[in-house]
Amino acid sequence: MQGITGNEGRFHTTSMLHYGTEIVAGVTPGKGGERVEGVSVYNTVAEAVQNHGADTSILFVPPARAKDAVIEAIEAGIKTLVIITELIPQKDVIKFLAKASKSGVVIVGPNTPGLINPSHKIKIGIMPSHIFKPGSVGMVSRSGTLTYEIASHISASGLGQSTCLGVGGDPIIGVGFTDLLDFFRDDEATEGVVLIGEIGGNAEELAAEYIKKTDYPKPVVAYIAGRLAPPEKRMGHAGAIIMGGGGTAKSKIDAFGAAGVPVAEKPSDVTRLLKIGMGKYQ
């Protein structure tokens, strides 16, 4: 946990530990020697890795220092990074994604709520854990609270989640929809997939193409937020903006239609479509 001694870091350390995640160490430069909820704090990632063998890191580092923290982690041998931080300068993101790619490091985010696996009781993120229940639906989303909204319906229906991962609301991110579709295809615990997208960029269109091209073997249901978004306005997320006519909700909905993926008209409808898809494939 990088940024463990900040307010957010502390809050979520408690939450993650309580859920069952094994946080072996924390890092905040200058605060080495302290402890947060029983977790040892170090000055550098290298020390944390050396003393505890951590291979994954979650970052609560402010935007101005995020790039350095990410690169430090990569150089110290961390293999997976979950970056919660929002508003990181794009130039910095470009830089550290290139470095991660070269080093074979997986980056989730930035601007992500993280990921959760209810069956294994692992939460590397900030989502409210009680909303998720062990189950068979894989979830991948660009949102935070909207994901919880849809997850709550899926849990209530009895389907539950296998793994839920937020790719983040920024325009430039690490793992994307296609990477998760790939993962879910081979994940035995996942029987159906929910993809939560929004306006801006063409990640949904590429995901739809991928589903079509690979004859994706598991049912996928999509929900796209932002049907009412006006052009050229940033709708909260830096990545949620319709530019030059591209990245509209319609474009994404049409793309999924062409790939045979049903698109829910409202969040509560995702469950109904999932049940149809999963029943069909059983």
Partner: protein
């Protein structure tokens, strides 16, 4: 954040790229003086952020200072596409032998900078991409090694131009990349990049868009970043208060925590036959003050007849939201119906506070949406 043409040109000039001789004018007198000083034919360019300002009459050629004065009189104080023209860039009119296009932009899909050059300058580059893509050269920069002179020359060799021109254009491309990275820009564009009879390359028009996320490390722009001319009045107010707000044209105010959730709420209201008046995301873990300000802002819009608030509390506390709502209603003194959907952290407490004040609360989002229709 988009910079004005004159600001973009000043940056390019600092980096050694030629720009037309010219002067910024804030009045008819200044414009006329500038035209006199420049002598000969000039062009008066409205310094506004409207797209296609040329097609909308924002760019006027004048053959003489008298014509320039007349043009300035027409332009200064006029409104083009909702933008007030307060300043003009008065420039020498260039003799053009060729118009090219050059830019560096962040490509979000490829996750790096895209360097673009085209022999088709002076037109909409998106049109060129559609009709004659062969006239566009693209190079995606390896973020770890950057964009060098050699990279630029290799790229430009595909153009049918002289070796000398290739070298000079390569220098311009590398400079654009340097500007983009030094300034944390999302876009640095010269269109058209004009070749004059003497063989020089001059940036006839320039655009620079800065990454909002990086403004904290560019203090020279920090102050002006609060005044965005493409903001509607309430959006400008929201920006000053640090709220993520977008104006829409309906009568149901919408507030929520989380951009995706708010967008989904907007869509749901519309699906149920309502017309949202705005988008407002209070973000995660919001404190009472932010919530109060957000609710007051939404209530203050005259067109708003009712407000729907959707809170899915993870790190956001429902009881704090409730307190913020009550405080806003009290302070604004506006009697507009409010419906609140709450789920998550401290939801019972939050609902309790609101119910006591006579505000309807819901656990189910669709119920809340349906109710707001009847409340109007």
């Amino acid at each position: 954040m988009r910079l004005f043409e004159f600001e973009a040109k000043n940056i390019l000039k600092e980096y050694g790229i030629l720009i037309p001789r010219g002067k910024l004018a804030g009045s008819v007198e200044e414009a006329t003086q500038a035209a006199n000083k420049l002598g000969g034919a000039v062009v008066l360019k409205s310094q506004i952020l409207a797209k296609s300002r040329g097609k909308l009459g924002g760019i006027v050629f004048a053959g003489s200072p008298t014509q320039a004065e007349k043009a300035a009189q027409d332009l200064i104080g006029s409104t083009i596409n909702g933008n007030r023209v307060d300043r003009l860039l008065v420039e020498e009119r260039l003799d053009i032998t060729r118009e090219l296009y050059a830019s560096v932009a962040i490509d979000r899909q490829v996750k790096t900078y895209l360097v673009l050059a085209s022999t088709s300058g002076g037109v909409d580059i998106e049109e060129v991409a559609q009709t004659s893509p062969e006239k566009i050269l693209k190079h995606w920069v390896d973020a770890l090694t950057g964009f060098s002179r050699e990279d630029a020359i290799e790229m430009l060799n595909k153009f049918d131009i002289s070796k000398d021109e290739t070298t000079r254009l390569a220098h311009i491309m590398v400079t654009l990349y340097k500007v983009a990275t030094d300034y944390d820009a999302e876009l640095v564009e010269i269109n058209p990049l004009v070749r004059t009879p003497s063989g020089e390359f001059v940036a006839a028009d320039a655009r620079v868009t800065l990454d909002d996320n990086a403004l904290f490390r560019h203090p020279e722009f920090k102050d002006k970043s609060l005044i965005r001319l493409d903001d509607a009045p309430l959006e400008a107010e929201a920006r000053r208060q640090g709220l993520a707000y977008v104006d829409l044209s309906g009568d149901i105010g919408i507030i929520g925590n989380g951009a995706g959730l708010v967008m989904a709420t907007l869509d749901l209201v519309h699906l149920y036959g309502g017309r949202p008046a705005n988008f407002l995301d209070i973000g995660g873990g919001a404190q009472v003050e932010i919530i109060k300000r957000g609710v007051m802002l939404v209530l203050s819009k005259p067109e708003v007849k009712a407000v729907l608030i959707n809170i899915l509390g993870g790190i956001t506390r429902c009881d704090l939201v409730a307190q913020g709502v009550i405080a806003a209603l009290k302070e604004s003194n506006l009697k507009k119906p409010v419906a609140v959907r709450m789920m998550g952290t401290n939801e019972e407490e939050g609902k309790g506070i609101l119910n006591k004040a006579g505000i309807n609360t819901y656990s189910n989002l669709e119920e809340a949406v349906e109710s707001i229709g009847t409340l109007r």
